[in-house]
Symmetry: C2
Subunit: 203 residues, 2 copies
DNA sequence: CCTGTATCAGACTAATCAGTCTGTTGTATC
DNA sequence: GATACAACAGACTGATTAGTCTGATACAGG
């Protein structure tokens, strides 16, 4: 077996992810990625058939990491026994996580979604995998909490689950617009408070 | 006075807004804008000092339109007397508005925020104008509703107000990712339900 | 040691890009 | 109708772009 190219490929992906999150995909040239990762044209086009193929690889990689993030929250929820406490522990996990963010923190989804060119069937499927992954898991937590409290006319669990994903993305945008990571923390806190109000303050 | 160039400038802005929302700013070439708007290089650079200057003009224009959207919601709220009903009428207005969206609907903020290059002092100030405009007005509605219900340990009004903006942006992203305008409607509905639960379901 | 193949290095190319420049046209004012 | 100037039109340019191509190099198996 010849030389192992995985480290190089990984270095390219890491650098590309950082640059794409910062300036978008179209505004990130292959040359810029090469300069930042001390690599070469030959290396890049050996590992990726085209710049577009890099985008696909980036998204797939990112969705995997994102779903790992989901699992981490679910693990934190497992510590609680009561279904409502599970939901609140789950949301609390991300509230704490948000404390580690910086003003430069961003989300690859935003860069990909904001350029229609990148939304081919493949990336759309990956994004769906992420959104449905979160929806399914969170809605499951919510349904059990609804059942435990006998809630009936509460928001649709799927939609309420999606709200968390929506708040992540929206908060990332506001954080960048205002140049501070604080909005993410505050928004996750508000969402937790609203869900708490829904699950615990009923007559 | 020579020829009136406002129609041309406006046509360029409209076309540019559409293309930038679709594919992002960097991926939208000046030539593409010219082709779509049946204009010329001479016309473009007569009205805009640079492509960057176009971005600034686009954002300022868009923030104005966005704040008009805010005012439309506030007007709808005025129809109600009770502070809580005002809040719900306000949110209901956007829920209805979302019915007019298509799968192609998008938000210019997303395109601007996702490219750091575009976030200079000028555009950042414009984005702040939009975010703070919404925050101030919505928080005011919320504070009056809190007072009317005697709520004390409810979410911070400013943060809850920001949540609406966050949900708009996050939903736009999810709508594009899933290729449907439905998530916007559902998310606004969920948010209204959560706020309603907060403002009316307390012990 | 020889050979094959994956891994790279970097010069090169054709296309596209933002922006310039020269010239033309329309219109209000005198 | 002469003048002045805003409002264009479009050829042109230098820089940047994604992608190609020709080799060099490393490393495993025979």
């Amino acid at each position: 077996m010849p030389k192992d190219g995985k480290p190089t490929r990984e270095r390219l992906l890491e650098t590309a992810e950082r640059l794409v999150q910062r300036n978008g995909f179209a505004a990130t040239s292959v040359d810029a990625i090469l300069a930042e990762s001390n690599s070469s044209k030959g290396a890049f086009f050996h590992h990726f058939a085209s710049k577009r193929a890099l985008a696909s690889a980036l998204v797939e990689r990112y969705v995997d990491a994102d779903l790992n993030m989901l699992r981490a929250g679910l693990d934190a929820a497992e510590a609680e026994a009561d279904p409502v406490a599970k939901v609140l522990a789950f949301l609390g996990f991300y509230e704490e996580w948000s404390g580690d963010l910086t003003a430069e923190s961003s989300c690859l989804y935003i860069a990909v979604i904001s350029e229609r060119d990148l939304l081919d069937d493949e990336t759309a499927t990956q994004l769906e995998r992420a959104i449905l992954g979160w929806r399914t898991a969170v809605a499951d937590l919510l349904r059990k909490a609804y059942a435990a409290r006998g809630l009936i006319d509460a928001p649709d669990p799927d939609d309420l689950a999606d709200q968390l994903f929506v708040i992540f993305e929206g908060s990332y945008l506001v954080c960048r617009a205002l140049g501070s990571p604080e909005p993410m923390r505050k928004q996750l806190r508000v969402f937790r408070q609203l869900v708490e109000s829904l699950l615990t303050d009923r007559r």
